[in-house]
């Protein structure tokens, strides 16, 4: 055994305060500035519906809405969302009732393992809020940033189209 182990320099932990609204609820937290938004959601807010797939800005499993627009929450620091309104999959359901997009993904078998589904539903959310009756081409373009390795996408297209129809009727 060496006589003395040199003491490691104390890690300088630098934290900042953020105030982020997630699904209508305020979350004030002290976080490290390097924390990614997806880590904030999963670890600081315990909202684990948002998934980390590739962590390289490819797969879209971490897609959430920031002020209504779909973004990849692994490619943004949480401090950058300070003062913003974030919507995650947990915020889609209202009063115990599934959102029409969630209902349609179930009804159309638009998911298998479900890992990519929260991200896909939020990309679909931006698409349908801008265009409730998208063509298949428009659906393909809107979800091109969301990778699904189970379904082959066909039932996802059907689910988004169905959700659009049901939302229009609502």
């Amino acid at each position: 055994m060496p006589e003395s182990i040199p003491a490691m320099a104390p890690l300088k932990r630098f934290v900042v305060s953020v105030h982020i609204r997630v699904n209508g609820k305020s979350y004030a937290r002290e976080i490290e500035p390097r924390m990614l938004l997806v880590e904030f959601l999963r670890e600081a807010c315990d909202l684990t519906g948002t998934h980390v797939g590739c962590d390289t800005t490819y797969c879209g499993a971490c897609t959430v809405l920031m002020n209504g627009l779909a973004i990849k929450s692994c490619t943004m620091f949480a401090v950058q969302a300070d003062g913003s309104e974030i919507t995650t999959v947990e915020g889609l359901e209202k009063d115990g009732k599934l959102h029409p997009i969630q209902q349609a993904f179930g009804d159309s078998y638009g998911l298998q393992c479900g890992y990519c589904t929260p991200g896909l539903m939020l990309s679909a959310h931006q698409l349908l809020s801008e265009n409730p009756a998208p063509s298949e081409k428009e659906i393909r373009k809107a979800i091109a940033g969301n990778t699904c390795r189970c379904t082959g996408y066909m039932n996802i297209f059907k689910a988004i189209e169905l959700a659009g129809r049901n939302m229009k009727g609502a």
Binding site: P33, D55, T56, T57, Y58, C59, G60, T63, L69, A70, I71, K72, T75, M76, F77, V79, Q80, S123, Q126, L127, K141, A142, I143, A144, G145, N146
Partner: protein, 278 residues
Amino acid sequence: MLGQLGEGAKFLAGGQSLIPLLKLRFANPEHLVDLNFIPDTSFIKEDLGALRFGAMTRHAEIEHSALAKNIPVLHDCAAGIADMQVRNRGTIGGSLAEADPSGDWANALITLDTTVHCLGPDGSRTIHLRDFVKDAYTTALAHDELVTEVEVKIPPKGSSGAYVAFKRSAPVYPSASAAVQLIMADDVCQDAAIALGCVGLTAIRATGAEVALRGKSLDDKAISTAAEAARAAADPQSDMRGSAEYKRQLVVALVKRAIQIAARRVRGEQVEGTHLYA
């Protein structure tokens, strides 16, 4: 501020390239200065025969801008960059300042008369795009200088353009891209600007291909001659996106397609042009 923080500091714009690079430890800055909270840096304005884009204007804002649609090469480029989520965050100024050889904006904008407005501790200056991009990941910007605005002269009557890129899937950089801007009079090409992306350290102006079109009516023969000249101008590397020969072949196909789309648009046809992927 970046001057005070020293050489280890970097500006953060949309972050859609920089944050992945940080995760890979390819970039290792001690400080990041986030530009996202600065007001009035995201805008699209028409002013004195030019379109002016604030540096923090997102690709999606340009994609949906009626003003930018008037210059189709800009719309094609904006609408096909990566995917919806990345277009919602990524910025035109950030893309130019990063100068990735596979980035889309520099290639589309080099076919137009584009000036980059820059601001640093010593004041502001404007740099023409051809002098702005120096090399792969290298621009004329000083370390503590940033892009404030991108100014594009509106092309004259009788012109149109197209931007076509091929990528393996939506979120990745293209394997090759082609930007074409034509000025036509009575079906004869008065002038042409043709640029190639992802097949060199910077976007490459295919001047031989431009010469092959000038003074010609754009029949199949003229277009083929231009595309072959573009192949010769390309200087691709073999990598995971394909072999050098494959990319040269792609350049030929993309240049042909972009010229055809641009020519039809000059005639007033509505033709879709954008990134293609499987």
